[in-house]
């Protein structure tokens, strides 16, 4: 057992690294971008992140197509006589894949079979509706990533927020306008408190945030389940189902584009939240401190930043943003009463959204819309083509994997690697970064092959 004590020497900081890293390394992400802008146009295009992102999506869709084709019954049938008539197999595969992806597109963006534009554009508004909670929760997760906290607790934060906002929404009778605001604030506050527990425990006791968030997810789930089946708490009166009553009309987020569409005010709220998080991270003193702690907590501590407080504030904000996602669910999407599955997997999708968005506010915003489109289209594909919506999950995770590994995508498409200038600049900090590095895709980009 004596050997086993090697790694438990105690939480020694790494003093060498602190002194090795100059203060300019604290916010290094601006400089390398500018350098690459001076290179040739073609090189710019072939090595740009936008192209890589598009190619990553293409690769993931190809992988999804292969899965769809392999599991299609017509394809399997025609594979039985492949050598006598190979064209049948190809036709069947093409039909399966094109049918799937065209219904995905029509379910997510524009329905060509609709009679008029108003009906045709409905899928796009559905996409935005699905994207709304994804963006909100994704912002929360991304914010905590930037502080170096690996927060997987969006699910629990959403559940608690749903319960709080929902309770205010159906139980309190307040005037129009005020009711909605109070309900939204109650939800955000509840989510912030639930996230704040994590920050507090991390700051005061050093408890590992991964464990605490996982545990709080389960605790929130069972707590909500209990409240939903207990009369007088959240359960609808006169019902035996674990489900809450419907929201009062005064607490429901109003429709943005009229009753034809499901898109509600929540989308605008989330847009404002995105701008706020952008402002917070990039323009405010608090955001600078957040990023400094995320890049290197030891250096931040030396620089006089109260690291522990940053953990607490970041988790409060992250919880509030995830809470906003929960609010959107109960007051916007499912207003007829909620059950314990109200989070609908958004809490975990938020992690992938944050990763895909590179933990930047606008990146999360567009990643959320992309995932919202996949979700809206996935339901259409499931209904129309009988392809399980789980294929969407596969495609989404592949996209994140490919985007995180630019060298892989480059080698698949035989693209040139970008110049070695960036390598020396960022390689060092990539090595010394923490395991839960805030800007994962950046550090991965740093060491181009």
């Amino acid at each position: 057992m004596s050997d086993s004590q090697i790694p438990s020497r105690g939480p020694l900081p790494e003093p060498l690294e602190v002194s090795q890293i100059p203060p300019s390394e604290l916010a290094p992400e601006v400089k390398p971008e500018e350098e690459s802008r001076s290179s040739a146009l073609l090189r710019e295009i072939t090595t740009s992140n936008a192209l890589l992102s598009v190619l990553a999506v293409v690769l993931a869709l190809v992988a999804g197509a292969i899965l769809i084709a392999f599991t299609d019954e017509d394809v399997q049938a025609s594979a039985g006589y492949f050598f006598s008539r190979p064209s049948d197999l190809l036709t069947a595969a093409w039909e399966a894949v094109s049918g799937a992806y065209s219904s995905l597109f029509q379910g997510a963006i524009y329905n060509f079979r609709a009679d008029n534009f108003q009906a045709g554009i409905r899928p796009l508004t559905e996409t935005l509706t699905f994207a709304t909670p994804l963006i909100a929760a994704g912002l929360g997760v991304a914010l905590s990533f930037r502080v170096g906290l690996f927060n997987i607790g969006a699910r629990g934060q959403m559940l608690v927020a749903s319960a709080a906002a929902g309770y205010v929404g159906f139980a309190w009778e307040l005037p129009t306008g005020i009711h909605l605001i109070v309900a939204v604030l109650a939800g955000i506050l509840a989510g912030a408190l639930w996230g704040g527990i994590v920050g507090l425990l991390k700051a005061r006791t050093g408890a590992h945030e991964v464990i605490v968030t996982i545990m709080l997810n389960y605790i929130a789930f069972y707590l909500i389940s209990f409240m939903l089946r207990t009369p007088g708490l959240l359960q609808a009166p006169g019902s035996n189902n674990p489900k809450s009553p419907a929201m009062l009309p005064t607490a429901v987020l109003p429709d943005l584009l009229g009753p034809r569409y499901n898109l509600h005010l929540g989308f605008l709220v989330v847009l404002v939240a995105t701008v706020y998080v952008w402002y917070l991270l990039n323009r405010s003193s608090l955001g600078f401190q957040f990023r400094a702690v995320g890049e290197n907590p030891n250096a931040a501590r030396v620089a006089g930043i109260k690291v522990k407080n940053m953990y607490l504030y970041a988790m409060l904000l992250a919880g509030g943003l995830a809470g906003l996602a929960g609010v959107n669910q109960v007051l916007g999407t499912v207003t007829t009463g909620f059950s314990s599955g109200i989070d609908a997997g958004i809490g975990f999708d938020a992690i992938t959204v944050a990763l895909l968005g590179g933990s930047t506010p606008w990146g999360v915003f567009f990643a959320g819309i992309l995932f919202g489109a996949f979700k809206a289209g996935g339901f259409a594909m499931q209904a129309g083509q009988g392809i399980p919506i789980d294929i969407i999950v596969v495609v989404q995770s592949l996209i994140v994997l490919f985007i995180a590994a630019p060298p892989l995508v480059r080698s698949v498409f035989h693209l040139p690697a970008p110049g070695t200038k960036r390598r020396s600049g960022r390689g060092k900090s990539g090595k010394s970064g923490t395991g839960t590095s805030a800007k994962p895709t950046k550090s991965a980009k740093a060491v181009n092959q």
Binding site: P7, G10, T352, S397, L408
Partner: protein, 427 residues
């Protein structure tokens, strides 16, 4: 916790005498004493609790033990208060609270809870413990996989994915071949494949390991759900009806009261689990290979300078870890449930991850942490049958609450392998 304990004391330094008094343990224990007083005294229950220690199949039958509920609870609460006061005294006088005291406190609290909850009923202790093993096996295998890969410096969030892949593959292979042993091999291969992806992305492409892990979980979940809906459930007879392992009674040992039925009337996967725990512990701490693995996880540069192939060691150790986690998945289909279901791991991989950190990256401690989770889940099942005074949701919440208390109050700032999560780039 173990901040300054084993610095050599050859030359006494004045700095060593000054120690920060940590009041976390006494405060945590105090909170639990208050809970105990509220629950067991204020809300005390009358009656007699019967503890049944034997099963019908036992050769040696132990009579059921009757315990007067209120009196026993009162005695234990007093003992708990004494232990909490003792810990406060130890901290006050500048000494460390021994882990045995905390463990004793936890056991007493548990005993009081069992007595309190089973007032006026019979608690089948053996069934409680047998179920505990059953629920813990996937957690233990997952935790072993987690310990191995984190010790070599690769953060393994993908345990959930490895478990799920193992469960899925073992169900299909065992169904098609009719050989559960082949299913076991298939599960190991599947877990290894998930690990290959984790290793390739985190070692070759230097993607943040946590990201790869999270994404792999989602990917495996999506793939297994997709194939389940599209392929497995239409052909359930052919593809998803694996034969289950039979229980093997070990002669003599299985006749020991309590221990026998719990530990030695199990399936082959459980026996493999015993071997795996011992093997991982021995290999990590008593072999040359283990020393290399730990050195790569602690200080890859140093390991490289003495000629250890850092990335190669990482790759193969992570693969081995995946194989172990895959075995845990196989237990779900071939040992307990008997068929693959969508999302059947239900977060077990994350619990295993918590067990790894809770167990401070030590295979034995992680195993005990996993057993604790298994026990708490099964306690809820058993108390649900005999009529629990606590709403079932709170019982289900219990393991997670206890973990938070333990992590925040007792374990505190744990430190994993120093280089875990950091890619090694040879310069």
């Amino acid at each position: 916790m173990t901040t300054v304990t084993h610095t050599p004391h050859s030359t006494p330094e004045p700095l060593e005498i000054v120690r920060a008094k940590s009041w976390k343990v006494p405060i945590t224990l105090g909170v639990f004493v208050v809970i105990a007083i509220l629950l067991f005294v204020v809300l005390g229950r009358d009656g007699t609790s019967l503890f049944r220690l034997s099963t019908a199949a036992d050769v040696i039958q132990i009579p059921e033990i009757p315990i007067p509920t209120r009196e026993a609870c009162a005695v234990i609460v007093v003992l708990l208060a004494i232990l909490a006061a003792l810990s406060a005294y130890l901290v006050q006088s500048g000494r460390r609270v021994p882990i045995a005291l905390i463990a004793g406190f936890a056991l007493l609290f548990l005993l009081a809870f069992l007595i309190w909850a089973s007032a006026g009923a019979t608690l089948p202790v053996t069934a409680l413990l047998v179920g505990t093993i059953g629920l813990s096996v996937p957690l233990i295998f997952g935790a072993l996989g987690g310990v191995l890969s984190e010790r070599v410096g690769v953060v393994n969030i993908a345990i959930e994915g490895q478990l799920l892949a193992g469960a899925f593959t073992s169900a299909i292979i065992a169904s098609v071949t009719g050989q559960p042993l082949l299913g076991l091999v298939g599960a190991m291969v599947a877990g290894t494949l998930v690990s290959f992806v984790l290793a390739a992305f985190s070692i070759k492409y230097i993607v943040d390991q946590t990201i790869v892990g999270v994404v792999l979980n989602v990917l495996v979940l999506g793939l297994t759900n997709f194939f389940y809906s599209k392929v497995l459930s239409p052909n359930a007879e052919l593809l998803n009806s694996p034969p289950r392992f039979e229980r093997i009674n070990i002669p003599v040992l299985s006749q020991i009261p309590i221990i026998g039925p719990v530990l030695f009337r199990q399936t082959i996967i459980v026996y493999l689990m015993y071997i795996a725990v011992a093997a991982v512990y021995f290999a990590l701490f008593h072999t040359k290979w283990g020393l290399r693995v730990r050195s790569v996880g602690e200080h890859p540069q140093a390991a490289d300078t003495v000629g250890i192939n850092v990335n190669g060691t990482r790759f193969w150790t992570v693969s081995l870890a995946g194989a172990l986690a895959g075995l845990g998945g196989a237990f779900l289909t071939l040992g307990s449930v008997g068929a693959f279901n969508k999302e059947m791991t239900a977060g077990a991989g994350f619990i295993a991850l918590a067990a790894v950190i809770f167990g401070r990256w030590d295979p034995i401690r992680a195993t005990f942490a996993a057993l604790l989770f298994g026990f708490a889940s099964n306690l809820q099942n058993v108390l649900g049958i005999i009529g629990s005074p606590v709403p079932s949701e709170f019982m289900l919440m219990l393991p997670y609450l206890v973990t938070i208390f333990a992590v925040a109050g007792v374990v505190g700032q744990v430190r994993g392998p120093a280089a875990a999560g950091k890619p090694y780039i040879k310069s």
